[in-house]
C-alpha cells in the first residue's frame, strides 16, 4: 500500500474515535495510526505488536507499546478497560480471527475492525479472468508468502457478526480515495468496496 492510501485509511479510523478515548491498537505496526490518534484526538492508550522492529519504531515515536501475539489472546488486559480496540488491516492475518474478535470485544467497549474486501469487483475479475490468486495494492503478496491467511468479504463479516450477536454500529466502505458510510445495499457494497471499516460492539 502507498503512504497516501494508508493515510486515507488512517483518516477514516481517526474520524471514528472520539476525543480523549482510551484506545488499544492491536497489530499497531510502527505506531503511525496511534501517533495520529494521539496528536489529533488526544487519546491515551497503547499498541500491541508482535514484530520487534516495529516495536522499536513505535517506541521511537514515544508511544507505549507492548510486544505480544494477538493469537495468544489479550491476557494482560482487563474486561472493558478500553473505550476502543482497533484492529486495522490485521484481522485477515490472524490465525484465529474469531478468538481475536472475542478478545477485543472483551477488553473494549467498542472495536474498530478494518480489512481488504476479497469480494471487490477487481479482485473477483482478477481471479475470473487470470485464474490466479488476486494481487492488488491492498493485497500485494503472492499466494505462497502472504500473511493474509484468513481473507474475507464484507458479506462474510456481516454473517459472522449476525451469528454471534455482535452489533455492527457503523460501516464505512472505501474505494480508492472515496468513502461511503451507512446503509448501502450490502451486495452492492460488497461488490464495489476495496476495503471496509466496521465499528462493532457486544
Amino acid at each position: 500500500m502507498t503512504t497516501k492510501e494508508f493515510n486515507f485509511n488512517y483518516k477514516i479510523v481517526c474520524n471514528l474515535i472520539p476525543e480523549k478515548s482510551r484506545v488499544l491498537d492491536l497489530g499497531c505496526g510502527d505506531g503511525k495510526l496511534l501517533k495520529i490518534l494521539k496528536n489529533e484526538k488526544n487519546i491515551s492508550g497503547l499498541g500491541v505488536e508482535i514484530n520487534q522492529n516495529y516495536v522499536l519504531e513505535a517506541l521511537q515515536k514515544g508511544l507505549s507499546i507492548v510486544q505480544g501475539d494477538l493469537d495468544m489472546g489479550l491476557k494482560e488486559f482487563q474486561d472493558n478497560s478500553f473505550d476502543f480496540a482497533i484492529l486495522n488491516q490485521t484481522l485477515q492475518s490472524t490465525k484465529n480471527p474469531e478468538f481475536v474478535i472475542y478478545e477485543m470485544l472483551r477488553v473494549a467497549k467498542r472495536c474498530v475492525v478494518s480489512f481488504p474486501n476479497f469480494a471487490y469487483w477487481k479482485v473477483r475479475f482478477y481471479l475470473f479472468f487470470k485464474g490466479k490468486m488476486p494481487k492488488s495494492k491492498v493485497l500485494p503478496y503472492e499466494w505462497y508468502n502472504t500473511p493474509n491467511v484468513h481473507l474475507l468479504t464484507i458479506s462474510d463479516f456481516f454473517e459472522f457478526c449476525l451469528k454471534r450477536n455482535i452489533k455492527i454500529e457503523k460501516s464505512v466502505y472505501l474505494t480508492k480515495r472515496k468513502s461511503r458510510s451507512g446503509f448501502l445495499i450490502r451486495n452492492i457494497a460488497n461488490f464495489f468496496s476495496e476495503e471496509v471499516v466496521f465499528v462493532i460492539s457486544k
Binding site: R22, S44, L46, Q52, V55, L56, L59, Q60, G62, L63, S64, I65, V66, Q67, G68, K75, E76, F77, Q78, S81
Partner: protein
C-alpha cells in the same frame, strides 16, 4: 566501544540511622558510589542504575588502578543507552555488599571488628532507603531508575516506595519476586557456604575464608545465568582434554564452572553472598502490599519492561505479571521480550538491542 574515561569510587556517609525492615535501627552507614556525566541545573537529569547480586558501584568507565571496565560499560557513556552527554548517572554498591558500602565485612564501630553475622538481615527495601539518602545528598528533584535482575527489583521498589519521585522506571530481566525455584537455588548456594569447614559462623576474616562453599555457590549461580542453548553453544559436551577416568575436571562446562568459582572467591565476601541472596528471597511487594496493583497504584512513573526469551531465572511470564498490573492501573508502560540465546546473562550482554529500546524510551 570502550569508555576512555576513568572513574573512582567515592564514599558518602549517611548522616542519620536507617530503620530496617527487620525492625532494627542501623547507624554508621557508608555508601560507595560512582557518577558519570553532569547533573544539570534543574537537577532532574539523574539516572540511578542498580546492580545485580554481585555487582559494585563501578558500573562504567575504567577503574584507575585496575584498568578494568564497569559491569554496564556497554550501556553507560557518551551516546550509549544511558547517555552521559545528557544524563547524570549514579551507581552505588548495595547495603550488605562488599564493595565499599557497609556490609558484613565492614568494621562494626562498637566492637572494632567486622560485623560478620552481627550484621542485620537487610532487604531490597533497606537497600533502596540507603540509595535514597545518597540521591537526596545530590539534591536531585526527580529520578529515573534502571536495573537488571536484582537491580530491577530495586528499581521496582523505588517506584513503589517513592511513587511521586520516580519519573521513569526501567526493569530488565527481573520479577516482582523470586519463584520457588530461584529461592531453592539460593538456598543451596547459602548451604554450600554455611557448611564450609572454614565458615566459623561467619568469623573467618582473620583466617581462611570459606572458599569452597563460596565457589560452589557461584557455580550454582552461573548455571542459572545461562541456559541450555547457551551452554550447548559455549561448551557442548566437549572435553577439556581426554577423559581422565577419575573425578577431576573433564568437561569444558566443568572447567568453566570451576574457573568462575575460583575467580569469584577472590572478589566477593561469603557473608555478603548470604545476606544479599536472602534479600533477594525476601523481596515480595505482592505480600507486603496485598497485591502488586496496590503496591504500584500511586506511582506516577512511566515504565519500560524488558525480558529475554531464554531467561528461565527471571522469566517473560514474571515480567508480564508486572506489565499486566501496570496496564490494569492505566500506567504508561512498554514491554519488549528480546530474542536471545544467552539466558539470564543476556541483560549484561545483549546491549545493542537494549540500547535502541532504552534510548527510544528515554526520548532521543
Amino acid at each position: 566501544m570502550e569508555n576512555e574515561n576513568y572513574t573512582e569510587t567515592k564514599i558518602y556517609k549517611l548522616n542519620k540511622p536507617i530503620v530496617l525492615k527487620c525492625g532494627k535501627t542501623f547507624d554508621n552507614i557508608e555508601v560507595a558510589y560512582q557518577t558519570y556525566g553532569k547533573l544539570n541545573e534543574n537537577k532532574d537529569n539523574a539516572i540511578l542504575v542498580l546492580h545485580a547480586l554481585t555487582g559494585s558501584a563501578h558500573a562504567a568507565f575504567l577503574n584507575k588502578k585496575t584498568n578494568k571496565k564497569g559491569w554496564w560499560d556497554d550501556m553507560i557513556g557518551p551516546n550509549k543507552a544511558f547517555d552521559t552527554n545528557k544524563f547524570f548517572v549514579i551507581s552505588s554498591n548495595v547495603l550488605g555488599g562488599c564493595y565499599g558500602t557497609t556490609g558484613p565485612k565492614s568494621i562494626n564501630p562498637l566492637t572494632n571488628k567486622p560485623y560478620a553475622l552481627d550484621f542485620p538481615v537487610v532487604t531490597i527495601e533497606d537497600m533502596v532507603k540507603v540509595q535514597k539518602e545518597l540521591v537526596n545528598y545530590f539534591g536531585i528533584k526527580k529520578i529515573i531508575v534502571a536495573g537488571g535482575s536484582m537491580g530491577g527489583m530495586q528499581a521496582l521498589e523505588w517506584s513503589i516506595a517513592y511513587p511521586e519521585y520516580v519519573k521513569s522506571t526501567i526493569l530488565i530481566a527481573t520479577a516482582a519476586r523470586l519463584n520457588a525455584q530461584s529461592i531453592a537455588f539460593n538456598a543451596v548456594a547459602r548451604n554450600a557456604i554455611l557448611k564450609d569447614a572454614n565458615f566459623n559462623n561467619g568469623n573467618y576474616y582473620n583466617s581462611s575464608c570459606p572458599e569452597n562453599g563460596l565457589a560452589i555457590a557461584r557455580m550454582i549461580g552461573h548455571i542459572t545465568y545461562l541456559c541450555e542453548e547457551a551452554m550447548y553453544k559455549k561448551f557442548g559436551r566437549e572435553f577439556k582434554d581426554t577423559p581422565s577416568f577419575d573425578f577431576g575436571v573433564d568437561f569444558q562446562v566443568e572447567s568453566y564452572l570451576e574457573h568462575q568459582g575460583k575467580i569469584f572467591v577472590d572478589r566477593f565476601d561469603a557473608n555478603s553472598y548470604l545476606y544479599i541472596t536472602k534479600a533477594l528471597d525476601y523481596y515480595d511487594p505482592i505480600k507486603s502490599y496485598g497485591s502488586l496493583e496496590n503496591a504500584l497504584k500511586d506511582s506516577s512513573s512511566k515504565f519500560l519492561v524488558i525480558s529475554f526469551s531464554t531467561d528461565w531465572l527471571f522469566t517473560t511470564e514474571q515480567a508480564k505479571q508486572i506489565v499486566s498490573t501496570l496496564i490494569k492501573l492505566n500506567k504508561d508502560v512498554s514491554f519488549v521480550e528480546l530474542e536471545s540465546k544467552c539466558g539470564h546473562d543476556a541483560f549484561l550482554l545483549e546491549f545493542e538491542k537494549q540500547t535502541k529500546i532504552i534510548k527510544s524510551f528515554l526520548g532521543e
